[in-house]
């Protein structure tokens, strides 16, 4: 697939779109826009940056935005990506905070939010499945991925412990 290097403005606008559409979390949108829509990175490059973003403290998509921005345009690129991912959601959030008390009790709002939240969870799950499928994981990689999912998703092990234990295993095994 042909890749396209973004300009600084592209970085800002792309991450602004990711932030604005990231209803329920930005991870599915970040992958969709960076890999599929704008083709700044291919699946494998994006996944490896996301892996680094995951083990550093902080939201992994924001960490990835910093690294992707730096990769294309250095300090200015990181700054553009960072401002992009936060500017629109902050404005929307202020808007919601201002009207929330007035609309929160409407039944239709609750129903819409509930349905949207259920679908947003599906977007996150589907994104993980799609990445695993496209990256053609071998048995060791599938085992590590499943171990991470079971420990954090089902057993509610704090992520920091899962990363501390599974990180070295994953690096050794994959």
């Amino acid at each position: 697939m042909e890749r396209t290097a973004p300009s600084r403005l592209d970085l800002f606008l792309g991450f602004a779109k990711i932030g604005l559409l990231g209803f329920g979390g930005v991870a599915p949108w970040a992958r969709h826009i960076i890999v599929e829509e704008r083709r700044w990175l291919d699946e494998r490059e994006y996944a490896s940056i996301l892996g680094i973003g995951q083990v550093l403290p902080g939201p992994n998509t924001v960490n990835s935005a910093i690294i992707i921005g730096d990769r294309f345009h250095g300090t200015m690129g990181s700054t553009a990506a960072f401002l992009g991912i936060f500017c629109m959601p902050l404005l929307v959030l202020i808007g919601i905070a201002l009207v929330y008390d007035r609309i929160a009790d409407l039944p239709a709002v609750g129903v819409a939010i509930g349905a949207g939240a259920a679908a947003a969870a599906g977007l996150v799950i589907g994104t993980a499945l799609k990445m695993a499928r496209r990256l053609k994981f071998d048995v060791a990689a599938i085992a590590v991925g499943l171990a991470a999912f079971v420990s954090v998703g089902l057993l509610h092990v704090p992520m920091v412990w899962a990363i501390a234990v599974l990180g070295p295993i994953s690096i050794a095994a994959v």
Binding site: G122, G145, A148, F149
Partner: protein, 177 residues
């Protein structure tokens, strides 16, 4: 007022570097600080702000923006957001520079490749946790499964899945009521 802003900045500044695996890792400690230690708000208010931050667009880290807003208005929102996002971002930037310097070294490639399945497993786990907390019955489960299949097997824009889910949810609600 300025004392309050310093309190917000200091609290989120050190919490920011403990966000291993994402913001949700520090939500319990954030709750303890905001409700029990600093008495910024009661537990119900915290829970409402958390739900709102999950549903609003943008990274989930913006729970702190809402807390800052609640405690000290616009200045509080800006200080809280800045304190929670800038320290880890600087760390990510330093890491980015380290990786650039290492170039195409073999060990870096091994570490990067090794972390990919871990990251994907974590994304799957967070989706699962979101699904569990938003589950209000068979319709919720169906919407989650349908949206997951939509993403996994097609390349269409994700907004279709969200829009269809909300329309379907509202339609079913209207038919049942």
């Amino acid at each position: 007022m300025s004392g309050l802003l310093e309190e917000i900045g200091a609290t989120f500044g050190w919490l920011s570097l403990l966000q291993f695996g994402g913001t949700n890792a520090v939500v319990p400690e954030m709750h303890r600080q905001a409700v029990e230690v600093l008495h910024w708000m009661d537990g119900q208010t915290f829970a409402n702000l958390f739900a709102l931050a999950q549903l609003a667009p943008g990274p989930n880290v913006m729970i702190v923006s809402l807390i800052g807003w609640r405690v000290a208005g616009l200045a509080g929102l800006l200080v809280a957001t800045f304190a929670m996002t800038v320290p880890p971002s600087l760390l990510a930037f330093a890491m980015s520079r380290l990786m650039k310097r290492a170039g195409t070294s073999k060990w870096l490639g091994i570490v990067k490749d090794g972390l990919v399945p871990l990251a994907i497993g974590m994304i799957l786990a967070s989706g699962w946790i979101m699904a569990a907390s938003s589950n209000q019955g068979p319709l919720s489960i169906a919407l989650t499964v349908a949206a997951a299949a939509f993403v996994a097997f097609t390349d269409y824009n994700l907004l279709w899945a969200l829009g269809a889910a909300i329309a379907l949810g509202l339609t079913v609600h209207r038919l049942v009521m």
